[in-house]
């Protein structure tokens, strides 16, 4: 049995691992568009998250199995057609992951400096050309838009001492960029209230350990203090801890315009607020990678499927970001078991499905 997997990120690797448990004799080819394997684990997980980065070794083990082979630098849909893979293999799993960060739709001055959280993380992981990090002028004020853990990663990396980042393998040109920062404040801007924020309370609490900064909470609307997140924010609001420079957490604000050195946001009542901003980081999620030759939902960018199988295709499956799902590593591993079971069922009983 031969199976092709498109993408060597967490989804693709977990699918290969799960498949080999069910079909130990299967031969698996993994197509990867990048020169190196492991997708978002290598490039998007912050370099200082060592507990997660330990998984690189777990993934290498899957890739090193005798009947698994990696085809790096191959873009499926361009270098090789999906239809050709469908002909050549008994089953195909599309696990192409997320390729680009979503941008916020605002008016921007031509000189406004901005980067997505994904590109930012890629640079710190050595997965992208460091020239992507904007250097408009001395960067004193950074605004980060988004209320998920990707925002917290950016804030934490900005606040970390440069020397500490060196320990995590951040490339030299990026360290030089980091050492040149002249931060006086960082602002996290969330559209919703704290109740709708997706920060994990533990990751948020860890920001307290960043020397030199003091978390400040600015919430225009009330919020529940029954949740761990609400309790933490209320405590910071009540009794600010830490040192001089503010790390502001602003809730209930929608960015509408970015100028050369400021950003304008609007609150729920329509009032405008202007903040100093030399660099805007957009951390509002990611777009699934496009795979030419497969039906795609234009709004979400995900591949159209029914219970993980691409419609009107015999043996083409889809998982992870490509299927429109957002997973953490643990739930991805669980999901991969289902995908593998579907593939096994199809291969063993081709008439039933």
């Amino acid at each position: 049995v031969r199976v092709a997997i498109v993408g060597s990120g967490p989804t693709g690797i977990y699918c290969a691992d799960a498949l080999l448990r069910l079909l130990p004799q299967a031969r698996i080819d993994i197509f990867e568009r990048a020169p190196q394997a492991f997708g978002l684990l290598r490039c998007a997980v912050a370099p200082d998250h060592l507990a997660t980065k330990n998984l690189l070794r777990v993934f290498e083990r899957v890739l090193n199995k005798e009947n698994v082979s990696l085809r790096p630098g191959v873009v499926v849909g361009e270098d090789v057609a999906v239809a050709d893979l469908e002909r050549e293999y008994d089953a195909l799993i599309i696990a192409a992951g997320a390729q680009s960060g979503r941008r916020i739709d605002i008016e921007r001055a031509p000189t406004a400096a901005a980067i997505t959280a994904l590109d930012f993380a890629c640079a710190f992981n050595g997965c992208a050309v460091p020239e992507r990090l904007p250097r408009p002028r001395p960067i004193r004020h950074v605004c980060i838009v988004g209320s998920g853990n990707a925002s917290l990663d950016v804030a934490r990396l900005l606040m970390s001492p440069t020397e500490e980042l060196r320990r995590f393998g951040v490339p030299e040109p990026v360290l030089a960029w980091h050492a040149g920062l002249a931060l006086s404040d960082i602002r996290l801007i969330a559209r919703g209230t704290p109740d709708s924020a997706k920060f994990s309370p533990n990751e948020l609490a860890a920001l307290e350990n960043c020397a030199g900064f003091r978390p400040v909470v600015i919430a225009t609307a009330g919020y529940s203090q029954d949740t761990p997140l609400g309790q933490l924010l209320a405590r910071w609001q009540r009794e600010p801890v830490g040192e001089e420079r503010p790390l502001q957490l602003c809730f209930g604000l929608k960015p509408i315009r970015q100028g050369e050195d400021a950003i304008v946001c609007e609150d729920a009542a329509g009032r405008q607020h202007e903040f100093a901003c030399d660099l805007l980081v957009e951390a509002i999620g990611q777009m699934p990678a496009q795979v030419r030759g497969l039906p795609t939902d234009p709004a979400s960018g995900a591949i159209l499927h029914r219970k993980g199988r691409v419609e009107e295709r015999r043996a083409t499956f889809v998982a992870g970001w490509s299927a429109g799902h957002q997973f953490n590593m643990a739930s991805m591993r669980e999901q991969a078991k289902h995908t593998a079971a579907s593939v096994q069922k199809l291969l063993e009983h081709p008439d039933l499905v």
């Binding site: 998250h49 330990n54 998984l55 777990v58 993934f59 533990n202 590593m329 643990a330 591993r333």
Partner: protein, 153 residues
């Protein structure tokens, strides 16, 4: 068969540790099984039981391992094991309050089921430790020595 290694994992890290520990003990003297596929019969004829477990949620054992945990808890009687040990993985940087509690849960459960603990659990902080397997293998060697010693009863 001397040692059974049961791996309770969410992401595969504990499994990697379990594989390396098993390779170090040797295939003729040990066997590894994922908790998510384990049955009580796997314990038959086992002398020493090693649990390698990560931690999930609010200090719980990994979700896929919960059925096996419940089996151990509910079994009227367990096969006569001589000794057990636990390697617990956790992330102290992000979860200081529930650090490695998944491993500690297995430790408490096996102890309460009347099995003798050969050594106190090894708890590893994955946010600082970069050689999980080497750390575990070094501990396992001492644990096995303890397990063989009559005096540790």
């Amino acid at each position: 068969m001397d040692t059974l290694i049961v791996v309770a994992t969410m992401t595969g890290t504990a499994e990697m540790v379990g594989e390396d520990v098993q390779a170090a003990i040797g295939a003729e003297r040990s066997r590894m099984v994922l908790a998510e596929r384990a049955q009580l019969e796997d314990l038959d004829g086992v002398e020493t039981l090693l649990l390698v477990s990560s931690t999930y949620g609010k200090g719980e054992v990994p979700e896929p391992a919960k059925p096996f945990y419940a089996m151990l808890e509910a079994a009227a009687r367990l096969p006569a094991l001589a000794r057990f040990g636990v390697i617990g993985l956790g992330d102290r940087s992000l979860y200081p309050e529930t650090f490695a509690q998944g491993g500690q849960q297995w430790d408490r459960l096996l102890h309460s089921r009347g099995i003798v603990r050969a050594s106190a659990p090894l708890l590893i902080d994955c946010s600082t430790c970069q050689d999980l397997s080497d750390t575990s293998i070094a501990w396992v060697k001492g644990w096995l020595r303890e397990a063989m010693t009559e005096g540790s009863r």
